[in-house]
Amino acid sequence: MSEEIPIWRIKYYPKSLDQICGRYEIKEALKNFITGRNFPHLLFIGAEGIGKTTLASMFSKEFLGREFDTNFKLVYGNVPLSEEERKLARSEAYVSTSKIGSIAGRRITTPAFIQVKVKPFVQLKVLGNAPFKILVVKNFEAIGNNQQGFRRLMEKYGSNCRMILITPKISSIIDPIISRCQIFLIPRVKFENFSKLINSIADNESIEVSSDGIDVLFKISEGRIFQAIDILQLSGVTGDKIDKNILYENAQRFQNDLIRSLLLISLKGDFPKSRELARKIISSYRYTSNELFNLLLKEINKLPLSRHVRSEMINLIADADFRAISGRDSDIQVSALLSKICLFSQYL
């Protein structure tokens, strides 16, 4: 390699299906698709950050071979449309009056997401030798109401383009889509494979990781390989020998303890401060209110609280989340929740 990549996460990003850590059964199944030159629509389900997208893109790369660049597209379901894309969708939403038929001059109600991001790619014919195009949609559950529109595309252009849908939760996907896909449940990496990977990286970077260190790393990262590698790199900066204490220390810096401090501040009963912090978190990480509530929920399960307090808090969060769904201004719901926690703290 001519150039040294400074970010390990990118440096050790797999370059082929074989390099992906563990998950042999799934890789086997995918390889069968490649030799058969055909596969149905796929649905990958698995926890966040364990490598579903990597699997999908590596598989597509090997399936399409040289035609990969022209026939592959990765779409993010959770990234909203930008200003320009919104404009484009609006301008394309009208059928010209010069066209004959009942729809002339009418508005077409294709959702903007599908109109702009998916349809142009799916409609175009396959280029080159490949049997069909491949579209990967990441965070598919986030496209929400557009799923029905997407189902239509799967039927209409299915022979031209196969889709690989990736999602962490199957419950928010509508049944018609599930029944049109072959489902793959992607498991976490097993420990033996994980330790193999970590050891190979350590060898390559000439650092030493103790065996209980790998244990700790496996636990902290919760199957998220990129995070494990991030922590490893961070620990590698300070010294060549890495044991579990150093790993813990670095993981501490890593963990998103803003959420925890948000909870602690509001449990102290200081409303103005906690609201300020919540706004800061939302604006710097671009969370939606729903995501923030989920994080709070996770954090509450980690905090040492009594059963009664915990259930009460979960109740409050659920109520706020429920209201935020139909409300217009999520900041009000977040503030309302924080004020309730502030008051609740008096009875602790």
Partner: protein
Amino acid sequence: MIKISKKIEMPWVEKYRPRSLKDMALPTAKVNGQRVNLAEELTSFIKNFFIERKRINRENAKIKEQNKTVIEKEQKDYIHIETDKAAVLLEGPPGIGKTSIVFALANDFNMDVVETNASDTRTRKALEDRLKETSKSRGIMDFITESKEKLILIDEVDGIYGVQDRGAVPTIIELVQNTQFPIIMCSNEYKSNLQPLYNNIRRFEVHPLPKEEVLIIAKNILKKENITQLKKEDLELLIDKNNGDLRGVINDLQGISQGKMDGNIRELILSLRRDSLEEIFTLIRDLFQVSSLRGARNLTDKSDVDYNFLYKWVNENLPTFIKTNEELVNAFENLSLADEIFGRIRTNQYWGLLPYFFDLFAGGVALSRKETPEAKGFRRVVFPRYSSGSYFSLTSVQKEFVEKINKKYEISQIDFIRTLLPFLKILCTTSRKQLKNVSDWLELDAKQKKMLK
């Protein structure tokens, strides 16, 4: 000695409202581009009106007598007063003294002012009910009490608009034709749907007072209130900020003088943003002073501030006015319910729910203040500074950063901002060498490097 309870302080705007046109600094006015003396014009307008009314009433009485003697076909119509003799329109920016002129004028002629706000009686029927009573006939009360002449003031005529108010402008014109009392209308700006009015009555364009006049008035008030700490240049700054709005100046003076007068008055003045936001600031302050649901409703009904926007202001400023956690919870409970209702109104078009929304976000919030004492002194009302998070967007620097990374490594904007960027920040603060490596590899410029620090 028993301490007498706190004196209730009147708003200075009311306290120092001029009683007579003579001791009032009159703004300059123009009619069709010609400069006129407002005091003379208005006085002669009132005088002429009563002479004209006498004549017309006499004529009409004659016609009535005649009509009794002839058959229906030959009956004559009653004559009407000419519209430009019955009413005038004062047009000018808010706070320059239009209403004060009317009150002073009425005081000079010993008349009562019947005030109607066009923006709170919007329908034709309501306008008629309120005005025709007084303008057409004299009420029973007038015979019992000593009859006093009346002056009708229709404030905020330009507040009439839209489908709901259809018919309001013709009603006003009809009213002007049949009136028994002089009518003065006030408006802030030219409105095309008021064109029939403009055609029929005289329109005075009232201009803001010159700065020197405002300075004299402000100094007088300060003298009467025994306030000496305010420096001259601070006062001038305050007047400049208000841009000719005398009411704004007086309100600000009162606000400042109620707070602590030491230290950074200049900073405080600079932080006062009045312009078009003046109304919303006073509205928010007033809203947290009211003690009844009706009071809160009146405030929100009267104001022209978009409620879409108003409840965000309430959200932002709640903690400034409400202090204890219990009250905060009550207030936020009401506000969040209001928000939910508003969301349903907008998605399902259930406009029938709108009254609940109003009551909850204004009344419900204002009434949650029970223990916290009423705001004394000057409280800063701030602009809603949060984004409600409905649109995801990165700053341009962040976007360029992502694009640079995407050339080498496929990552979405959201994943970048949540997982990769925090990691890079930690990594680059740990060692300078890593920062150099990363920035060299991605060919970052100075701005993007700064993001990593």
